[in-house]
Protein backbone atom coordinates (compact mmCIF):
# COMPACT_ATOMS: atom_id res chain seq x y z
CA UNK A 1 0.00 0.00 0.00
CA UNK A 2 1.17 3.46 -0.83
CA UNK A 3 2.81 5.30 1.98
CA UNK A 4 2.06 9.01 1.55
CA UNK A 5 4.84 9.94 3.96
CA UNK A 6 7.27 8.05 1.76
CA UNK A 7 5.84 9.80 -1.29
CA UNK A 8 6.37 13.24 0.22
CA UNK A 9 9.89 12.28 1.29
CA UNK A 10 10.93 12.18 -2.36
CA UNK A 11 12.30 15.62 -3.33
CA UNK A 12 10.93 15.53 -6.89
CA UNK A 13 7.46 14.61 -5.61
CA UNK A 14 7.58 17.44 -3.07
CA UNK A 15 8.44 19.85 -5.88
CA UNK A 16 5.64 18.44 -8.04
CA UNK A 17 3.09 18.76 -5.21
CA UNK A 18 4.22 22.30 -4.47
CA UNK A 19 4.03 23.36 -8.13
CA UNK A 20 0.67 21.59 -8.41
CA UNK A 21 -0.72 23.26 -5.29
CA UNK A 22 0.11 26.71 -6.68
CA UNK A 23 -1.13 26.00 -10.20
CA UNK A 24 -4.24 24.33 -8.78
CA UNK A 25 -5.31 27.70 -7.36
CA UNK A 26 -4.36 29.99 -10.21
CA UNK A 27 -5.51 28.01 -13.26
CA UNK A 28 -9.06 27.15 -12.06
CA UNK A 29 -9.45 30.72 -10.69
CA UNK A 30 -8.57 32.14 -14.11
CA UNK A 31 -10.67 29.40 -15.66
CA UNK A 32 -13.82 30.81 -14.02
CA UNK A 33 -13.32 34.06 -15.96
CA UNK A 34 -12.23 32.38 -19.21
CA UNK A 35 -15.34 30.16 -19.25
CA UNK A 36 -17.51 33.23 -18.60
CA UNK A 37 -15.86 35.05 -21.47
CA UNK A 38 -16.00 31.95 -23.64
CA UNK A 39 -12.25 32.09 -24.23
CA UNK A 40 -11.33 28.55 -23.17
CA UNK A 41 -9.60 28.10 -26.53
CA UNK A 42 -7.18 30.89 -25.56
CA UNK A 43 -5.37 28.65 -23.05
CA UNK A 44 -5.02 25.88 -25.60
CA UNK A 45 -3.68 28.33 -28.18
CA UNK A 46 -1.07 29.85 -25.88
CA UNK A 47 0.09 26.47 -24.60
CA UNK A 48 0.59 25.05 -28.09
CA UNK A 49 2.18 28.24 -29.40
CA UNK A 50 4.66 28.15 -26.50
CA UNK A 51 6.28 25.16 -28.20
CA UNK A 52 8.05 27.78 -30.31
CA UNK A 53 9.56 29.15 -27.08
CA UNK A 54 10.62 25.68 -25.95
CA UNK A 55 12.25 25.08 -29.34
CA UNK A 56 14.06 28.45 -29.26
CA UNK A 57 15.36 27.62 -25.78
CA UNK A 58 16.62 24.19 -26.84
CA UNK A 59 18.19 25.48 -30.06
CA UNK A 60 19.85 28.45 -28.36
CA UNK A 61 21.05 26.46 -25.37
CA UNK A 62 18.89 28.54 -23.03
CA UNK A 63 16.48 27.45 -20.31
CA UNK A 64 13.47 26.28 -22.44
CA UNK A 65 11.00 26.98 -19.62
CA UNK A 66 12.10 30.62 -19.51
CA UNK A 67 11.94 31.10 -23.27
CA UNK A 68 8.53 29.35 -23.37
CA UNK A 69 7.22 31.84 -20.78
CA UNK A 70 8.50 34.84 -22.77
CA UNK A 71 7.18 33.54 -26.11
CA UNK A 72 3.84 32.49 -24.56
CA UNK A 73 3.27 35.96 -23.12
CA UNK A 74 4.25 37.58 -26.45
CA UNK A 75 1.71 35.38 -28.26
CA UNK A 76 -0.90 36.36 -25.65
CA UNK A 77 -0.19 40.05 -26.27
CA UNK A 78 -0.36 39.36 -30.02
CA UNK A 79 -3.85 37.86 -29.65
CA UNK A 80 -4.98 40.84 -27.56
CA UNK A 81 -3.70 43.38 -30.09
CA UNK A 82 -5.21 41.54 -33.07
CA UNK A 83 -8.57 41.23 -31.30
CA UNK A 84 -8.61 44.96 -30.60
CA UNK A 85 -7.20 46.24 -33.88
CA UNK A 86 -8.80 43.97 -36.45
CA UNK A 87 -12.30 42.76 -37.23
CA UNK A 88 -11.19 39.14 -37.08
CA UNK A 89 -12.96 36.79 -34.71
CA UNK A 90 -11.15 35.69 -31.58
CA UNK A 91 -11.17 31.99 -32.46
CA UNK A 92 -9.71 32.71 -35.91
CA UNK A 93 -6.90 34.78 -34.36
CA UNK A 94 -6.15 32.18 -31.69
CA UNK A 95 -6.28 29.37 -34.28
CA UNK A 96 -3.79 31.22 -36.47
CA UNK A 97 -1.39 32.01 -33.61
CA UNK A 98 -1.77 28.51 -32.14
CA UNK A 99 -0.81 26.69 -35.35
CA UNK A 100 1.86 29.21 -36.33
CA UNK A 101 3.64 28.86 -32.98
CA UNK A 102 3.38 25.10 -33.13
CA UNK A 103 4.74 25.02 -36.69
CA UNK A 104 7.59 27.36 -35.77
CA UNK A 105 8.50 25.09 -32.88
CA UNK A 106 8.48 21.99 -35.10
CA UNK A 107 10.65 23.70 -37.76
CA UNK A 108 13.23 24.89 -35.22
CA UNK A 109 13.35 21.47 -33.56
CA UNK A 110 13.76 19.73 -36.91
CA UNK A 111 17.24 21.27 -37.07
CA UNK A 112 18.15 19.61 -33.77
CA UNK A 113 19.69 16.17 -34.11
CA UNK A 114 18.72 13.12 -32.08
CA UNK A 115 16.03 12.39 -29.51
CA UNK A 116 14.73 15.34 -27.53
CA UNK A 117 13.72 14.07 -24.08
CA UNK A 118 13.02 17.61 -22.93
CA UNK A 119 10.54 18.08 -25.74
CA UNK A 120 8.53 15.02 -24.71
CA UNK A 121 8.48 16.29 -21.11
CA UNK A 122 7.11 19.64 -22.27
CA UNK A 123 4.50 18.01 -24.48
CA UNK A 124 3.05 15.67 -21.85
CA UNK A 125 4.32 16.96 -18.50
CA UNK A 126 6.92 15.21 -16.39
CA UNK A 127 7.27 15.65 -12.65
CA UNK A 128 10.87 14.44 -12.78
CA UNK A 129 11.88 17.49 -14.81
CA UNK A 130 10.60 20.09 -12.31
CA UNK A 131 13.79 21.40 -10.73
CA UNK A 132 14.35 23.84 -7.88
CA UNK A 133 14.79 26.74 -10.30
CA UNK A 134 11.46 25.84 -11.96
CA UNK A 135 9.77 25.84 -8.57
CA UNK A 136 11.24 29.25 -7.85
CA UNK A 137 9.87 30.61 -11.16
CA UNK A 138 6.45 28.92 -10.76
CA UNK A 139 6.22 29.97 -7.10
CA UNK A 140 7.17 33.61 -7.64
CA UNK A 141 5.00 34.14 -10.71
CA UNK A 142 1.92 32.29 -9.46
CA UNK A 143 2.03 34.33 -6.25
CA UNK A 144 2.25 37.55 -8.29
CA UNK A 145 -0.69 36.40 -10.44
CA UNK A 146 -2.71 35.36 -7.40
CA UNK A 147 -1.99 38.65 -5.66
CA UNK A 148 -3.16 40.56 -8.71
CA UNK A 149 -6.31 38.44 -9.05
CA UNK A 150 -7.27 38.89 -5.40
CA UNK A 151 -6.51 42.62 -5.37
CA UNK A 152 -8.50 43.21 -8.57
CA UNK A 153 -11.15 40.52 -8.20
CA UNK A 154 -14.13 42.87 -8.38
CA UNK A 155 -12.79 44.88 -11.31
CA UNK A 156 -11.87 41.75 -13.28
CA UNK A 157 -15.19 40.02 -12.60
CA UNK A 158 -17.16 43.13 -13.55
CA UNK A 159 -15.10 43.76 -16.70
CA UNK A 160 -15.55 40.17 -17.82
CA UNK A 161 -19.26 40.21 -16.97
CA UNK A 162 -20.22 43.72 -18.08
CA UNK A 163 -17.40 45.85 -19.51
CA UNK A 164 -19.56 48.95 -20.06
CA UNK A 165 -20.69 49.10 -16.43
CA UNK A 166 -17.13 48.38 -15.33
CA UNK A 167 -15.97 51.42 -17.30
CA UNK A 168 -18.72 53.55 -15.77
CA UNK A 169 -17.64 52.32 -12.33
CA UNK A 170 -14.21 53.79 -12.95
CA UNK A 171 -12.38 50.61 -14.00
CA UNK A 172 -9.68 51.09 -16.65
CA UNK A 173 -11.14 48.24 -18.67
CA UNK A 174 -8.69 48.21 -21.61
CA UNK A 175 -5.66 48.12 -19.34
CA UNK A 176 -7.24 45.46 -17.14
CA UNK A 177 -8.11 43.32 -20.15
CA UNK A 178 -4.52 43.60 -21.40
CA UNK A 179 -3.12 42.53 -18.01
CA UNK A 180 -5.64 39.69 -17.87
CA UNK A 181 -4.39 38.36 -21.23
CA UNK A 182 -0.79 38.61 -20.00
CA UNK A 183 -1.37 36.78 -16.71
CA UNK A 184 -3.54 34.16 -18.40
CA UNK A 185 -0.73 33.47 -20.91
CA UNK A 186 1.78 33.40 -18.07
CA UNK A 187 -0.27 31.00 -15.94
CA UNK A 188 -0.84 28.62 -18.84
CA UNK A 189 2.87 28.41 -19.70
CA UNK A 190 3.79 28.01 -16.01
CA UNK A 191 1.68 24.85 -16.05
CA UNK A 192 3.36 23.16 -19.02
CA UNK A 193 6.11 21.44 -16.99
CA UNK A 194 3.58 19.72 -14.78
CA UNK A 195 0.70 19.24 -17.18
CA UNK A 196 2.28 19.40 -20.62
CA UNK A 197 1.66 21.70 -23.57
CA UNK A 198 -1.10 19.46 -24.90
CA UNK A 199 -3.11 19.21 -21.68
CA UNK A 200 -2.42 22.30 -19.56
CA UNK A 201 -5.48 24.22 -20.71
CA UNK A 202 -7.71 21.41 -19.38
CA UNK A 203 -7.04 22.66 -15.83
CA UNK A 204 -8.47 26.01 -16.90
CA UNK A 205 -11.60 24.33 -18.21
CA UNK A 206 -12.53 21.09 -16.41
CA UNK A 207 -12.56 22.20 -12.73
CA UNK A 208 -14.73 25.30 -13.44
CA UNK A 209 -16.99 23.25 -15.73
CA UNK A 210 -17.48 20.70 -12.94
CA UNK A 211 -17.94 23.39 -10.29
CA UNK A 212 -20.58 25.11 -12.42
CA UNK A 213 -22.78 22.03 -12.11
CA UNK A 214 -23.09 22.60 -8.34
CA UNK A 215 -22.55 26.32 -7.78
CA UNK A 216 -25.27 28.90 -7.26
CA UNK A 217 -23.06 31.91 -6.56
CA UNK A 218 -19.84 33.37 -7.94
CA UNK A 219 -18.06 32.85 -4.64
CA UNK A 220 -19.06 29.17 -4.52
CA UNK A 221 -18.11 28.81 -8.19
CA UNK A 222 -14.56 30.10 -7.62
CA UNK A 223 -13.98 28.19 -4.36
CA UNK A 224 -15.35 24.91 -5.76
CA UNK A 225 -13.27 25.28 -8.94
CA UNK A 226 -10.09 25.71 -6.90
CA UNK A 227 -10.93 22.81 -4.56
CA UNK A 228 -11.62 20.52 -7.53
CA UNK A 229 -8.43 21.68 -9.26
CA UNK A 230 -6.37 20.91 -6.14
CA UNK A 231 -8.07 17.54 -5.72
CA UNK A 232 -7.35 16.58 -9.34
CA UNK A 233 -3.72 17.61 -9.02
CA UNK A 234 -3.16 15.78 -5.72
CA UNK A 235 -4.84 12.54 -6.80
CA UNK A 236 -3.38 12.79 -10.32
CA UNK A 237 0.17 13.10 -8.99
CA UNK A 238 -0.36 10.14 -6.68
CA UNK A 239 -1.68 8.06 -9.60
CA UNK A 240 1.16 9.29 -11.77
CA UNK A 241 3.67 8.05 -9.18
CA UNK A 242 1.97 4.70 -8.51
CA UNK A 243 1.30 3.76 -12.12
CA UNK A 244 4.29 5.53 -13.66
CA UNK A 245 2.08 7.73 -15.84
CA UNK A 246 2.84 11.12 -17.43
CA UNK A 247 1.78 13.62 -14.76
CA UNK A 248 -0.28 15.84 -17.08
CA UNK A 249 -2.38 12.99 -18.42
CA UNK A 250 -2.88 11.53 -14.92
CA UNK A 251 -4.07 14.89 -13.52
CA UNK A 252 -6.40 15.66 -16.39
CA UNK A 253 -7.88 12.15 -16.44
CA UNK A 254 -8.50 12.46 -12.70
CA UNK A 255 -10.18 15.80 -13.31
CA UNK A 256 -12.33 14.23 -16.03
CA UNK A 257 -13.26 11.40 -13.66
CA UNK A 258 -14.35 13.93 -11.04
CA UNK A 259 -16.45 15.67 -13.71
CA UNK A 260 -18.04 12.32 -14.68
CA UNK A 261 -18.73 11.50 -11.02
CA UNK A 262 -20.34 14.94 -10.57
CA UNK A 263 -22.60 14.38 -13.56
CA UNK A 264 -23.55 10.95 -12.23
CA UNK A 265 -24.29 12.41 -8.80
CA UNK A 266 -26.57 15.05 -10.27
CA UNK A 267 -28.34 12.44 -12.37
CA UNK A 268 -28.88 10.21 -9.33
CA UNK A 269 -30.08 13.17 -7.28
CA UNK A 270 -32.66 14.00 -9.95
CA UNK A 271 -33.69 10.37 -10.18
CA UNK A 272 -34.35 10.03 -6.45
CA UNK A 273 -35.93 13.44 -5.96
CA UNK A 274 -37.91 13.19 -9.16
CA UNK A 275 -37.15 16.82 -9.98
CA UNK A 276 -34.80 18.79 -12.13
CA UNK A 277 -32.26 21.06 -10.47
CA UNK A 278 -31.25 23.12 -13.50
Amino acid sequence: MLDLVELFALPFMRRAFLAGALLGVVLPYLGVFTTLRRMSFFGDGIAHASLAGVAIGIAAGLQPFGTAIVVGVLFGIGIFVLEKKTRLSSDAIIGTIFTSGLALGVVILSFERGYQPELISFLFGNILTIGSSDIAIIGALTLVILGFLIANHRAIALTVFDAETAWLSGVRTSLLEFIFYVILSLAVVLGVKLLGIILVSALLIIPPTTAKLFSRSLRAFIVTSIVLGELAIFLGLVFSFIFDLPSGAAIILTSALIFTAALLLIYLKRLFRGGVHR
Partner: protein, 239 residues
Protein backbone atom coordinates in the same frame (compact mmCIF):
# COMPACT_ATOMS: atom_id res chain seq x y z
CA UNK B 1 -36.66 80.16 -14.56
CA UNK B 2 -34.32 78.62 -17.12
CA UNK B 3 -33.11 75.13 -16.33
CA UNK B 4 -29.46 74.15 -16.15
CA UNK B 5 -28.05 72.09 -18.98
CA UNK B 6 -27.33 68.48 -18.03
CA UNK B 7 -26.01 67.28 -21.40
CA UNK B 8 -24.65 69.29 -24.27
CA UNK B 9 -23.81 67.49 -27.51
CA UNK B 10 -21.98 69.66 -29.98
CA UNK B 11 -21.46 68.65 -33.64
CA UNK B 12 -21.12 64.95 -32.85
CA UNK B 13 -20.04 62.71 -35.69
CA UNK B 14 -19.09 59.05 -35.66
CA UNK B 15 -18.21 56.65 -38.46
CA UNK B 16 -17.65 52.92 -38.24
CA UNK B 17 -15.64 51.20 -40.95
CA UNK B 18 -16.00 54.22 -43.17
CA UNK B 19 -19.79 54.37 -42.79
CA UNK B 20 -21.22 57.48 -41.14
CA UNK B 21 -23.45 56.44 -38.24
CA UNK B 22 -23.83 59.82 -36.55
CA UNK B 23 -23.61 62.94 -38.66
CA UNK B 24 -22.99 66.31 -37.05
CA UNK B 25 -25.62 66.14 -34.29
CA UNK B 26 -26.03 68.91 -31.71
CA UNK B 27 -28.62 69.26 -28.94
CA UNK B 28 -29.04 70.03 -25.26
CA UNK B 29 -30.77 68.09 -22.50
CA UNK B 30 -32.07 70.25 -19.61
CA UNK B 31 -31.36 69.06 -16.08
CA UNK B 32 -34.30 67.17 -14.56
CA UNK B 33 -35.93 66.49 -17.92
CA UNK B 34 -37.01 63.19 -19.40
CA UNK B 35 -35.74 63.05 -22.95
CA UNK B 36 -36.43 60.30 -25.45
CA UNK B 37 -34.21 59.68 -28.42
CA UNK B 38 -36.23 58.09 -31.19
CA UNK B 39 -35.58 56.93 -34.70
CA UNK B 40 -36.02 53.88 -36.90
CA UNK B 41 -33.86 50.77 -36.62
CA UNK B 42 -30.27 51.48 -37.65
CA UNK B 43 -30.70 55.23 -37.20
CA UNK B 44 -27.74 55.44 -34.78
CA UNK B 45 -29.69 55.77 -31.49
CA UNK B 46 -27.56 53.32 -29.51
CA UNK B 47 -24.36 54.78 -30.96
CA UNK B 48 -25.52 58.28 -29.97
CA UNK B 49 -26.28 57.10 -26.43
CA UNK B 50 -22.84 55.48 -26.11
CA UNK B 51 -21.24 58.68 -27.36
CA UNK B 52 -23.14 60.66 -24.71
CA UNK B 53 -22.02 58.31 -21.94
CA UNK B 54 -18.45 58.20 -23.21
CA UNK B 55 -18.30 54.45 -23.83
CA UNK B 56 -17.25 55.28 -27.40
CA UNK B 57 -15.53 58.44 -28.60
CA UNK B 58 -16.76 60.65 -31.40
CA UNK B 59 -14.47 61.43 -34.33
CA UNK B 60 -15.55 65.06 -34.24
CA UNK B 61 -17.52 67.19 -31.84
CA UNK B 62 -17.83 66.94 -28.10
CA UNK B 63 -20.13 65.93 -25.26
CA UNK B 64 -20.35 67.74 -21.95
CA UNK B 65 -22.27 66.40 -18.97
CA UNK B 66 -22.73 69.10 -16.35
CA UNK B 67 -19.99 70.97 -18.20
CA UNK B 68 -17.45 68.15 -17.99
CA UNK B 69 -16.25 65.28 -20.18
CA UNK B 70 -18.32 62.11 -19.63
CA UNK B 71 -15.34 60.18 -18.25
CA UNK B 72 -14.91 62.85 -15.57
CA UNK B 73 -18.47 62.43 -14.32
CA UNK B 74 -18.85 58.66 -14.59
CA UNK B 75 -20.07 58.48 -11.01
CA UNK B 76 -23.02 60.69 -11.93
CA UNK B 77 -24.17 58.33 -14.68
CA UNK B 78 -26.50 55.35 -14.41
CA UNK B 79 -26.91 53.13 -17.46
CA UNK B 80 -29.30 50.35 -18.43
CA UNK B 81 -28.01 48.67 -21.60
CA UNK B 82 -30.14 47.50 -24.49
CA UNK B 83 -29.47 43.80 -24.32
CA UNK B 84 -27.55 42.59 -21.35
CA UNK B 85 -26.31 39.33 -22.76
CA UNK B 86 -24.65 36.82 -20.51
CA UNK B 87 -24.40 33.10 -20.02
CA UNK B 88 -27.64 32.35 -18.16
CA UNK B 89 -26.05 29.31 -16.53
CA UNK B 90 -23.25 31.40 -15.01
CA UNK B 91 -23.59 31.15 -11.23
CA UNK B 92 -23.89 34.68 -9.86
CA UNK B 93 -26.51 35.88 -7.41
CA UNK B 94 -28.37 39.18 -7.64
CA UNK B 95 -26.58 40.28 -4.45
CA UNK B 96 -23.17 39.54 -6.01
CA UNK B 97 -24.19 41.33 -9.21
CA UNK B 98 -24.96 44.44 -7.15
CA UNK B 99 -21.79 44.21 -5.08
CA UNK B 100 -19.64 43.89 -8.21
CA UNK B 101 -21.08 47.15 -9.50
CA UNK B 102 -20.86 49.04 -6.23
CA UNK B 103 -18.40 47.56 -3.77
CA UNK B 104 -18.76 50.54 -1.45
CA UNK B 105 -22.52 50.01 -1.12
CA UNK B 106 -23.45 48.41 2.17
CA UNK B 107 -25.60 45.31 2.42
CA UNK B 108 -28.35 47.50 3.90
CA UNK B 109 -28.17 49.83 0.93
CA UNK B 110 -28.50 46.89 -1.48
CA UNK B 111 -31.44 45.46 0.51
CA UNK B 112 -33.15 48.86 0.62
CA UNK B 113 -32.70 49.34 -3.10
CA UNK B 114 -34.17 45.93 -3.92
CA UNK B 115 -37.05 46.61 -1.55
CA UNK B 116 -37.74 49.93 -3.30
CA UNK B 117 -37.94 48.10 -6.59
CA UNK B 118 -40.09 45.30 -5.21
CA UNK B 119 -37.53 42.61 -5.91
CA UNK B 120 -36.13 41.89 -2.45
CA UNK B 121 -37.14 38.25 -2.73
CA UNK B 122 -34.66 37.62 -5.54
CA UNK B 123 -31.59 38.84 -3.66
CA UNK B 124 -30.07 35.37 -3.38
CA UNK B 125 -31.49 34.05 -6.64
CA UNK B 126 -29.21 33.36 -9.57
CA UNK B 127 -29.30 36.14 -12.14
CA UNK B 128 -29.97 33.69 -14.97
CA UNK B 129 -33.09 32.36 -13.25
CA UNK B 130 -34.95 35.69 -13.12
CA UNK B 131 -37.94 36.39 -15.35
CA UNK B 132 -37.57 39.08 -18.02
CA UNK B 133 -39.46 41.61 -15.90
CA UNK B 134 -37.49 40.84 -12.74
CA UNK B 135 -34.22 41.05 -14.62
CA UNK B 136 -35.18 44.41 -16.08
CA UNK B 137 -35.98 45.73 -12.58
CA UNK B 138 -32.66 44.39 -11.31
CA UNK B 139 -30.85 46.24 -14.09
CA UNK B 140 -32.65 49.50 -13.26
CA UNK B 141 -32.11 49.06 -9.51
CA UNK B 142 -28.43 48.43 -10.16
CA UNK B 143 -28.17 51.50 -12.40
CA UNK B 144 -29.42 53.80 -9.62
CA UNK B 145 -27.63 52.02 -6.76
CA UNK B 146 -24.93 54.69 -6.57
CA UNK B 147 -27.44 57.57 -6.75
CA UNK B 148 -26.59 58.90 -10.22
CA UNK B 149 -27.80 62.28 -11.44
CA UNK B 150 -28.47 61.11 -14.99
CA UNK B 151 -29.98 57.82 -16.02
CA UNK B 152 -29.58 56.45 -19.54
CA UNK B 153 -31.79 53.68 -20.92
CA UNK B 154 -31.10 51.99 -24.22
CA UNK B 155 -34.26 50.42 -25.66
CA UNK B 156 -35.10 49.04 -22.21
CA UNK B 157 -38.23 47.09 -23.09
CA UNK B 158 -36.78 44.91 -25.85
CA UNK B 159 -38.08 41.40 -25.29
CA UNK B 160 -40.45 42.36 -22.46
CA UNK B 161 -44.17 41.53 -22.63
CA UNK B 162 -46.84 44.28 -22.81
CA UNK B 163 -47.60 44.23 -19.08
CA UNK B 164 -43.91 44.32 -18.23
CA UNK B 165 -43.48 47.20 -20.65
CA UNK B 166 -46.24 49.24 -19.02
CA UNK B 167 -44.86 48.55 -15.54
CA UNK B 168 -41.43 49.52 -16.74
CA UNK B 169 -42.49 52.90 -18.07
CA UNK B 170 -44.36 53.60 -14.83
CA UNK B 171 -41.15 52.83 -12.98
CA UNK B 172 -39.14 55.18 -15.20
CA UNK B 173 -41.69 57.93 -14.75
CA UNK B 174 -41.66 57.41 -10.98
CA UNK B 175 -37.84 57.48 -10.82
CA UNK B 176 -37.74 60.63 -12.88
CA UNK B 177 -40.21 62.46 -10.66
CA UNK B 178 -39.38 61.06 -7.21
CA UNK B 179 -35.60 61.30 -7.50
CA UNK B 180 -35.56 64.35 -9.77
CA UNK B 181 -33.31 62.46 -12.16
CA UNK B 182 -32.42 63.58 -15.64
CA UNK B 183 -33.48 60.65 -17.81
CA UNK B 184 -32.42 59.92 -21.38
CA UNK B 185 -34.28 57.04 -22.95
CA UNK B 186 -33.55 55.56 -26.35
CA UNK B 187 -36.52 53.93 -27.98
CA UNK B 188 -37.92 53.02 -31.33
CA UNK B 189 -41.41 53.09 -29.84
CA UNK B 190 -43.04 56.30 -30.85
CA UNK B 191 -46.18 55.70 -28.77
CA UNK B 192 -44.46 56.23 -25.43
CA UNK B 193 -43.14 59.68 -26.25
CA UNK B 194 -46.10 62.05 -25.81
CA UNK B 195 -47.04 60.98 -22.27
CA UNK B 196 -43.58 60.14 -20.99
CA UNK B 197 -41.17 62.71 -22.32
CA UNK B 198 -40.57 66.42 -21.77
CA UNK B 199 -38.33 66.51 -24.79
CA UNK B 200 -37.83 64.36 -27.86
CA UNK B 201 -34.78 64.06 -30.08
CA UNK B 202 -35.42 62.40 -33.44
CA UNK B 203 -32.51 61.11 -35.44
CA UNK B 204 -31.86 59.15 -38.55
CA UNK B 205 -28.08 59.34 -38.50
CA UNK B 206 -28.46 63.12 -38.45
CA UNK B 207 -30.78 65.26 -36.35
CA UNK B 208 -34.35 65.39 -37.64
CA UNK B 209 -36.08 67.17 -34.74
CA UNK B 210 -35.68 68.21 -31.13
CA UNK B 211 -37.95 69.90 -28.62
CA UNK B 212 -41.18 69.22 -26.70
CA UNK B 213 -43.01 66.23 -28.28
CA UNK B 214 -46.17 68.15 -29.13
CA UNK B 215 -44.22 70.70 -31.12
CA UNK B 216 -41.43 68.55 -32.50
CA UNK B 217 -43.31 65.45 -33.61
CA UNK B 218 -45.23 66.85 -36.54
CA UNK B 219 -46.66 64.50 -39.19
CA UNK B 220 -43.96 65.74 -41.59
CA UNK B 221 -41.19 64.89 -39.11
CA UNK B 222 -42.65 61.45 -38.45
CA UNK B 223 -42.93 60.78 -42.16
CA UNK B 224 -39.35 61.91 -42.63
CA UNK B 225 -38.24 59.63 -39.82
CA UNK B 226 -40.15 56.49 -40.62
CA UNK B 227 -40.98 57.05 -44.26
CA UNK B 228 -44.73 56.52 -43.79
CA UNK B 229 -47.78 58.03 -42.12
CA UNK B 230 -47.67 57.10 -38.43
CA UNK B 231 -49.44 58.80 -35.55
CA UNK B 232 -47.98 59.04 -32.06
CA UNK B 233 -50.83 57.72 -29.89
CA UNK B 234 -50.62 58.30 -26.19
CA UNK B 235 -49.77 55.20 -24.14
CA UNK B 236 -52.69 54.33 -21.85
CA UNK B 237 -50.52 53.22 -18.92
CA UNK B 238 -48.92 56.61 -18.57
CA UNK B 239 -52.01 58.72 -18.52
Amino acid sequence: MEKNIAIEADNLSFAYNGETVINNISFQVPEGSLTTIIGPNGSGKTTLLKLLIGIIKSQTGSVRIFGKKPREVRAAIGYVPQRFQFDKTFPITVREFFRLTCNTCSADRVDEQLHNFGIQRVLNAMLGELSGGQFQRVLVARAVLHDPKILFFDEPVSGIDVEGEQNFYKLVSHLHKARKLTVVLVSHELHIVPALADQVICINRSLICSGPPAAALTPEVIKKLYGEDITAYQHSCLT
